[in-house]
Amino acid sequence: MGMDIAVAGEHVKDATSFHFPFGYHVELPMLDFGSLRLGAVDLPLVGHIPAVEIPLRLQLTKFMVLELIVAVLMMLIFIPLAWRLRGGRPPRGRLATFFDVILCYIRDQVARPAIGKHEADRYLPFLWNMFFFILFCNLMGLVPWAGSPTGAISVTGALAVLSFAMVIGAGIQEHGLIGYVKSLVPHMDLKGVLGIILKLMLWVIEFAGLCIKHAVLAVRLMANMFAGHLVLAVILSFIAAVANFWLILWFGVTIASVAGQIALMMLELFVAFLQAYIFTFLAAIFIGMAVHTH
């Protein structure tokens, strides 16, 4: 059983190659740009810094390629859509209407309630971009032989860090650096040294909370996608597990497994939309909290 989960995990994880059926593999190249050499310097106070050589090599992985595909897909969908909607035209066609509905939903039901009508439009591009990037990455997991980049903490972590940066940026833009740093602590009528110490401690807690919220953002998305796809892979691996037994058993397990796959795929389809929505919704709420201090 342990081996099965290892096998399933291998399928859900990032890889340096694409696996296709019947043993076909596409190995992804290593991009080698040589290395960046920084000469030794002598600085006052710090002293001597030895020369360093930073290798500029990048091993392309499956998730990187899939992210590029997602980027291209987004451009292929939304640039023509913007052209078709120009001047306030109504959307024509099912696909255009589908995306139009989602765009309007995120603007009217997510961004504006969370951030406020006047400020929301400034953060709308970021939220739209976030929602569709995550959604498309999630849906990539339902494409045969592809995978879900959002099932890796490196990907969701990067997205959470970007969201964190957006929140801090929004706060600083709205209140200035000092104002935002101060606004993290709720206003309290405390005087003297004790007040300063208490406020300082509260500030540390609030800031840590902000960081934790974004870490949770990353973990929630990753865990949902990873777990969902792991379950799919495990159920599929049952077929392989009984492959060396009687043919009739293998046949029965195969049919049951595929039926389970279909049911879980539907669930995954729902989860793909739900998690993209939750990530975007929480990012909007965090931005709103930075813009409107308590």
Partner: protein, 215 residues
Amino acid sequence: MVEQMRKWAALAMIALVLGLGTKSVSVAWGAEAGGGHGEESSVAQAVNPLDFRQDLALWTAVVFVGVLVVLRVFAWKPIARALDQREDHIRREIEDAERANAEAKRLLSEYQAKLGQAENEIRAMIEKAKQDAQQVGQSLIDKARQEAEEEYRRKLAEIDRATERALQELAQRGAALAVDLAGKLVAARLDPTAHARMIEQAMEAISRQHPPGLN
């Protein structure tokens, strides 16, 4: 029935192909995973989702920001603008429609009032025309009656006059005849038959000159 069986057969075939595919792949994975590691460590390595890779994270950030920068200019901002324009357009349309509706209602009530007024006027006109007609008819009838009465009186008077004249003439003629007759009677030898015949002739002569019913 045949359709159903065909469906199930197709499903079974798909399951079979998927099963074969997984079987061959899993063999390859098994070979990979088995090399050099114990089972537990390979499980931990394969399944650990918190395996953070900086290059993938950096790649993700770069791709995301790249997409954001490109789409911000070519999609997100134009779309946001288009949505606002659409909203404005719809709001304007609704306002126009409301205004047109109010205008139409106003015109309708105005015309209804006018129509009611016109109806009243027409009713009054008809009433007046009826009255006039009645009056005119009555006066015509009165006039006709009056005229007829006058005519009747005139005729009556004429008849009276004619009768009077006739009586006068008769009296004159009678007198003349009487004189004449007397003369003749005196002149002739009178026997009773001749006497009677002469009176008869005289009467006939009178009636020939003035037939009864005239005048």
